[in-house]
C-alpha cells in the first residue's frame, strides 16, 4: 500500500468504523464494567488499532460519543483527551443500573466508476453527506453506480449496582445487538446469548468475530467466529475471564430505494469475570 493511500485510509478510519473484518479495529475500553458504591466513575480509552486494546495506531474521534444513563437520559463524557494513540474520557455514573456508551452513525453512500475507470464515492472519506443530496452528487456519466444504506455502531456497557435493561433496547436503525444475556453479567465458562437485528428485525447470517484482549502476549488471534441463526441469535461460551471485543458485519439487498444494498457493522466490548 502506498503511503498516501495508507494515510488517507487511516484518517478515514479514525472517523468511521471499519466495514471489513481485516481493517484496523475500532474499540472502546472501559476501566471497569461492574461497580459498587454511590459515587462510581469509569475511564474509557477509545482507539483504532490492529491488536485489540493495544493503543498503537490512531486515536478515535470521540465527539460523537453518546452515553445513555439507566433512566434513558444522556450524559456527557468528561475530561476528554485525544492523544497520539488513543482518546480518553471519563464517565460519572450518578444512577444505579446499566449505562450504554455508543458511537453510531448511519446514512447513504454511493460508489461508482468514472468513464476513465476511476473509482468515485459520495460522501468522500471522512465527510458527511445529507442522504437527500445523494442523487445530485453522483456524476451524470458515472457507471456501475451502487447506492448503499450503511450503519456503523460501536458500544460498551457498564453497570453500577444491579444490572437493568432499559438501555439495552435497540434503536431499530442499522445493525444492532440485543443482549439476551445481560452484558454486565458475563462469567468465564458460561454461555452468553445475543441477538442481531437489522433495522429492527432479527437477522440471520450476521458474521461475528469475538477476540479476547491481550493479543500481544499470544501468537494467534484466538478468534471465535459465529454466524447468527434464523432468529438472529448467536451464543458465545467465554473461554476465560478478560475483556473481549466482538465485531460483526452484515450485508443484503433489502435496502430502501434509492439504495440497492444495505450494510451494517457493529462492534462491542464486553468484560467477562472469573467464577
Amino acid at each position: 500500500m502506498n503511503t498516501f493511500l495508507k494515510a488517507t485510509l487511516c484518517s478515514a478510519l479514525v472517523l468511521c468504523l471499519p466495514l471489513t473484518a481485516n481493517a484496523h479495529r475500532a474499540w472502546l475500553l472501559p476501566s471497569a464494567t461492574v461497580l459498587s458504591g454511590d459515587n462510581a466513575w469509569i475511564s474509557v480509552d477509545a482507539a483504532v488499532s490492529n491488536d485489540i486494546f493495544h493503543a498503537d495506531h490512531a486515536p478515535m474521534r470521540i465527539d460523537g460519543i453518546t452515553i445513555v444513563a439507566p433512566d434513558g437520559t444522556q450524559l456527557a463524557p468528561q475530561n476528554n483527551l485525544t492523544g497520539k494513540f488513543r482518546s480518553v474520557f471519563d464517565v460519572q455514573l450518578p444512577q444505579k443500573g446499566t449505562y450504554k456508551i455508543v458511537l453510531a452513525s448511519n446514512g447513504l453512500m454511493a460508489n461508482w466508476k468514472t468513464p476513465a475507470g476511476e473509482r468515485g464515492m459520495w460522501p468522500g472519506r471522512g465527510e458527511k453527506g445529507n442522504p437527500a443530496d445523494i442523487e445530485k452528487n453522483i456524476p451524470t456519466d458515472a457507471q456501475e453506480v451502487q447506492i448503499s444504506q450503511f450503519s456503523r455502531r460501536l458500544e460498551t456497557f457498564v453497570t453500577s449496582g444491579s444490572p437493568d435493561e432499559k438501555v439495552l433496547k435497540i434503536t431499530k436503525q442499522g445493525l444492532e445487538l440485543l443482549p439476551i444475556t445481560h452484558p454486565n453479567d458475563l462469567f468465564a465458562g458460561e454461555t452468553a446469548e445475543f441477538q442481531f437485528h437489522m433495522d429492527g428485525k432479527p437477522v440471520e447470517g450476521v458474521k461475528a468475530t469475538i477476540i479476547a484482549g491481550g493479543m500481544r502476549y499470544r501468537n494467534e488471534q484466538a478468534a471465535i467466529d459465529v454466524v447468527s441463526d434464523k432468529n438472529g441469535k448467536i451464543s458465545v461460551t467465554w473461554p476465560n475471564a478478560g475483556m473481549y471485543w466482538l465485531s460483526a458485519s452484515y450485508r443484503d439487498n433489502k435496502a430502501k430505494k434509492p439504495a440497492t444494498v444495505r450494510s451494517g457493522s457493529y462492534a462491542a466490548t464486553f468484560e467477562v469475570l472469573p467464577e
Binding site: 461497580l35 462469567f187 472469573p274
Partner: protein, 174 residues
C-alpha cells in the same frame, strides 16, 4: 435475576415478640489466616446462605465502614470485589444493613451465631443449603469457600480455603 428468598425484617419483627424456647441455631466460624505479606489489609468478607433454588440470604458482610475515624460509604466502592457475593445478592443489597454490615476483622477465628427465626437468618425451610463465605483483600487475593448442610439435621460441616480463608465451619443445632 435471583430473588431474595426472605423478607428478613418482616419476619423478624413478628418473631422477636414470641417467646422462642427452642430456637434453632447455626454457629458459623470463619478463620482469617495471618498472611506474611508486605502490605496487609484485613479482607472484605461476605457470609451468606444459598438454598437449592440458588436464592441467597445475607448473614454478614464485613467491609470498610469508616474513613479516618468517621462513618463513610467510601468503602462500598470495593464491595464488588467479592464477585460471587456481588453477583448473587450484593448488588441488590443497599448497604449498610443493620445486623449484617460490620467492620473488617483481624486474622483469627471469628464465630457468628445465628438464631433461626431471627434476623438476619430468619425462618429456614427444610432442605439443603450452602453456606458461602467469600473474602477479597486489597492488594491481595480473593477466595470463595462453600460448606453444604441440611436443615434441620444436627451436625458440623467444614471446608478449608487455600489462601485468603482458613477453615470455615458450620454447626447446625435445630
Amino acid at each position: 435475576m435471583r430473588a431474595h428468598f426472605f423478607a428478613g425484617s418482616l419476619f423478624a419483627a413478628g418473631l422477636l415478640a414470641l417467646p422462642c424456647a427452642q430456637a434453632g441455631e447455626l454457629t458459623v466460624s470463619v478463620e482469617l489466616p495471618s498472611l506474611n505479606v508486605a502490605e496487609y489489609h484485613p479482607p472484605y468478607v461476605a457470609v451468606w446462605l444459598e438454598n437449592e433454588k440458588g436464592e441467597s440470604r445475607n448473614l454478614a458482610v464485613w467491609y470498610q465502614l469508616e474513613e479516618r475515624g468517621k462513618k463513610s460509604e467510601k468503602g462500598e466502592e470495593w464491595l464488588k470485589d467479592m464477585r460471587q457475593w456481588w453477583r448473587r445478592i450484593g448488588r441488590e443489597t443497599d448497604m449498610p444493613v443493620d445486623g449484617i454490615s460490620g467492620a473488617t476483622r483481624k486474622p483469627g477465628t471469628h464465630q457468628l451465631v445465628f438464631t433461626e427465626g431471627k434476623s438476619p437468618l430468619g425462618k429456614l425451610k427444610k432442605g439443603n443449603y450452602v453456606l458461602m463465605v467469600e473474602a477479597a483483600r486489597e492488594v491481595g487475593g480473593r477466595e470463595l469457600v462453600k460448606v453444604p448442610f441440611t436443615w434441620p439435621a444436627a451436625g458440623e460441616q467444614s471446608a478449608k480455603g487455600n489462601k485468603e480463608l482458613g477453615e470455615v465451619k458450620i454447626n447446625v443445632q435445630p
